[in-house]
């Protein structure tokens, strides 16, 4: 079997696995296809997602189901104002060894899991929120003089409630930037609500079976990185990124007016990686401009810092990104 054929089979396997994963999760989660795909994209890109939605939409359930379907270790941290960094990272405790000696031993916190659910992350203090920074970016934590590697694959899924602002601490820009996608969890449709009721108010008990192993996920992540992104696709993504800046080339009038600071280079990385994942979802072997356009909103919406005028007028970042996508031509020399 040639290299090409082997890769073709890899791609086909990728699609089969994704299909199986969707199907398994779909047994528990009703609808929310876009959110699920976004979360999977983040996972396959080796990064993290921020889920925003009102309570009761199944965010926690989604993450928990995902972890179960992946057969990965899962932990959940409920963020509260009194939560301390050590509560999530872990701490050193004095213990008596079998020999009867007192020794300091590191007790790992909840971040030491493959899938970490940081529930209502904006309720914790910035200090505690920052504790997640190193873990999310470096996939490791340092306690004292010792650095502890986090298990791979490592996925942090944070949730936040957009309505309750009382007693919350909005995430700092630096931390927001570390989330690959910001996914908005929509309210279910009537049909979906019927299905939810069916499933949750009956005696049905659905047990999620792991359909993928840790190695499968790592292989899929490796395949994603190998998907080619032609130059014209990269160029398009870059031009979209530039247009998010008020003074950037091709920025539409709304961006100039309502945006204080545009997206960082992590934004274009997210768009391109997301495009690659999407290409694989659709059975293609290279990312396209359409893929970039599809991933632009989740990749950029949390990276746009609105100006005072934008905030005051309640401008939604998705609207601005829509303007940008309309303004930036697909081809340009």
């Amino acid at each position: 079997m040639g290299e090409t054929e082997r890769v073709r089979e890899e791609v086909e396997t990728f699609q089969r696995r994704i299909g199986a994963l969707r199907e398994e999760i779909g047994r528990v989660i009703v609808g929310q296809r876009a959110v699920l795909d976004g979360v999977l994209t983040c996972m396959l890109a080796g990064s993290h997602a921020l889920l925003e939605g009102v309570p009761g939409l199944g965010k926690t359930m989604l993450v928990r189901t995902l972890a179960g379907a992946l057969g990965l270790e899962f932990s959940r941290i409920q963020f509260t104002p009194d939560l301390m960094p050590a509560d999530i990272i872990g701490t050193v405790v004095l213990e008596q060894s079998a020999e009867g000696r007192n020794v300091f031993e590191f007790r790992r916190g909840p971040v030491f899991a493959n899938v970490v659910l940081a529930d209502e992350i904006n309720r914790a203090t910035p200090k505690t929120q920052s504790a997640l920074l190193e873990a999310m970016q470096e996939h490791r934590v340092t306690v004292g003089r010792t650095t502890h590697a986090l298990p791979e694959p490592y996925l942090v899924l944070a949730t936040q409630n957009p309505l309750e602002m009382e007693g919350t601490y909005p995430l700092p820009e630096a931390q927001l930037d570390r989330f690959f996608f910001k996914l908005e969890v929509p309210f279910p449709s009537r049909e979906e609500l019927h299905a939810i009721l069916e499933r949750t108010t009956s005696d049905q008990r659905v047990e999620v079976r792991p359909v993928l192993t840790r190695e499968d996920v790592l292989a899929m992540q490796d395949l994603v990185r190998r998907v080619p992104a032609p130059r014209h696709v990269q160029d398009y993504a870059i031009r979209v990124l530039q247009a998010t800046h008020p003074n950037g080339e091709g920025a539409p009038r709304s961006v100039t007016r309502y945006v204080r600071t545009g997206a960082s280079p992590r934004g274009v990385q997210a768009m391109l990686l997301g495009a690659k994942v999407r290409a694989l979802y659709e059975g293609r072997f290279a990312a396209s401009i359409d893929d970039v356009r599809a991933t632009a909103k989740p990749a950029l919406r949390h990276r746009l810092l609105l100006s005072f005028e934008g905030e005051a007028e309640g401008v939604r970042p998705d609207t601005l990104i829509g303007d940008i996508l309309d303004a930036v031509p697909a081809a340009k020399d």
Binding site: E3, T4, R6, V7, R8, V11, R226, V227, P228, P230, R231, H232, V233, E282, R284, F285, A286, A287, S288, I289, D290, D291, P329, A330, A331, K332, D333
Partner: protein
Amino acid sequence: MRRAAARAARRLRHRAALARLAALLPLPFVYAAVALAAIKVLGLGAQAEARLILGGIGLVAVVAVAVLLAWLRRPPRWAGALLLDQHHGLSGRLTTTLELAETPPAERSPLAALAIEDGVSACQKLDPRGAVPVPLPRELAWAVPLLGLVVAIGLFEIRTERVIPPPPTFEPLVLTDDDLELFGRMAEELAQQAQDPGSLAAIRRFNTLVEDIAARRLDRKEALARLSELDADLGRALEAEREARELGLDGIASGLQRSGLTRAAAQAFEERRLEDAEKALRELAERLKRKDKKPSAAELARLRQAMEQASRASSERLQAIEARRRELEAERKSLLRKHGKDAKGAESDPAVADNRRKLERLQRDKAQAEAAAREMSELDRQLAEAARELEKALGKSAEHIEQGAEDVQRMARKAMSEKEKRELLQRLRDLKEIVRRQGQGGADRQRQIARFTRRARGQQGGGGDQPGKAGARLVPGVEVDVVPIPKIARVPGQGAADGAPGNRGGGDPQGPGAQPRSGAEAGKSHDANVRGEATAPPVGETRDVTAAGIDTGEGTASAEVIYGAAERGFVGKPYRDVFVQYETVAEEALEKDEIPPGHRFYVRRYFQLIRPRE
């Protein structure tokens, strides 16, 4: 795939060019509409129209260039392929394939190879026409009504009321027959007196002019122009002749002064008494012929010198002028050389300007001297011959002097002809003044003059105007704004019109012969007829002894003649005599007294009007 992408890109260029055309096409149409409207409504001149047309051509050229540039501009590299992708829902497969295919196969990753393979299999039937439609832009719809507007404006006819200037009317100069007869007769008289061809030519021109006026072939402007031209020509010719002759005579006079035998002639020449000069030369010739009064050798030697000198005067003067001219020319060249090529510097140099003025003056002097030399050429020749023969044969010399005298006589006649020319010049100026003033009085004045001339010829005035009463004015029925004829003083016994204190009524209502009465006391009032009765001269019974002319005291008194002329017209011998007397006095007064030129015309015109008629 590449061809399809290239075709799509080409269609993009077509679309861009069409869009540019649609955007710019209304401009030439709007321009054409405005320009056409401006041309039609404002009626611009040919130059402005040409500019507008050029502007339109320029605008069309600009539009064409803009469209061409839009067509030539290459679209972005993958624009065509991307549109094909979009049209066929290929999710970028075509573009990705084309781009990845540019990488050499050995360098391609397996996924890239798979992507190319996928793209090739997916892009089987590509439709560039469908992917890049080239529809007619909606903006082109504007061109249709605009084109219609241009055509409508082009067809729209604006009727302008062109003011056609009336053809130039010819208003001939109309002089009264009386005036025309006067000037015609003057020309005839002058022609009879004229002795030289120059005078005759001038008189002919004058006569032609009068004939043209009589035939009403000239309007006032043209008549004045021709009069002025004749005046100027005659004046110039007279002046030039006079100056040349005087210059020549001065030269002859200064030469002949050297001998006692010719001193009398020299004096006469100097004082311009040409008849005396002729007489003196003839006497000298007679003396030379006669053996009894033969001059001494010394006298003859001086005479020879004098005649030689006199004969050379003109040529010497010419030579002196020529020598001086050469000096000035040399000086001019030297000055100009100093300035080199600096023409402006030479122009502003006062020395060069002074030199130029002197040369011009000298040129005039030379022309004058040449004219004088021509005038005196015969006399000079005769004097030179006479001087030469003086040593050999006195008789022959005398003959030459006599011939010289003949030439002086010719000059005298010529001087006389100058008088004719002056006379003609004067008549010319009179006519010019009449023509000039002719338009001032209007038709009424013309009618008055015509009526006056009819009466002057002894005919009755008509035309609805009341004839003047005899005795009321010297020239009855005419309001003449000229110097009034000298009044005839009242003779005693006619009754004064002015009353005096203590003399009620003053005037004697009974008429002539009544004695004024002296009142015993101061008058308390006055007679109702303060001015007394109108004068009623008893013609034939009284005798005028005072008149503003010369009254010989013989025959019919001047006043009677004048009264008679007022009733019968200016005819008859007595009136002619009185007129000649009066005119002679007037002419003398005009010559002697300081009378302004404008007033002289009135006097002359007056006498022209009251001149005797046939």
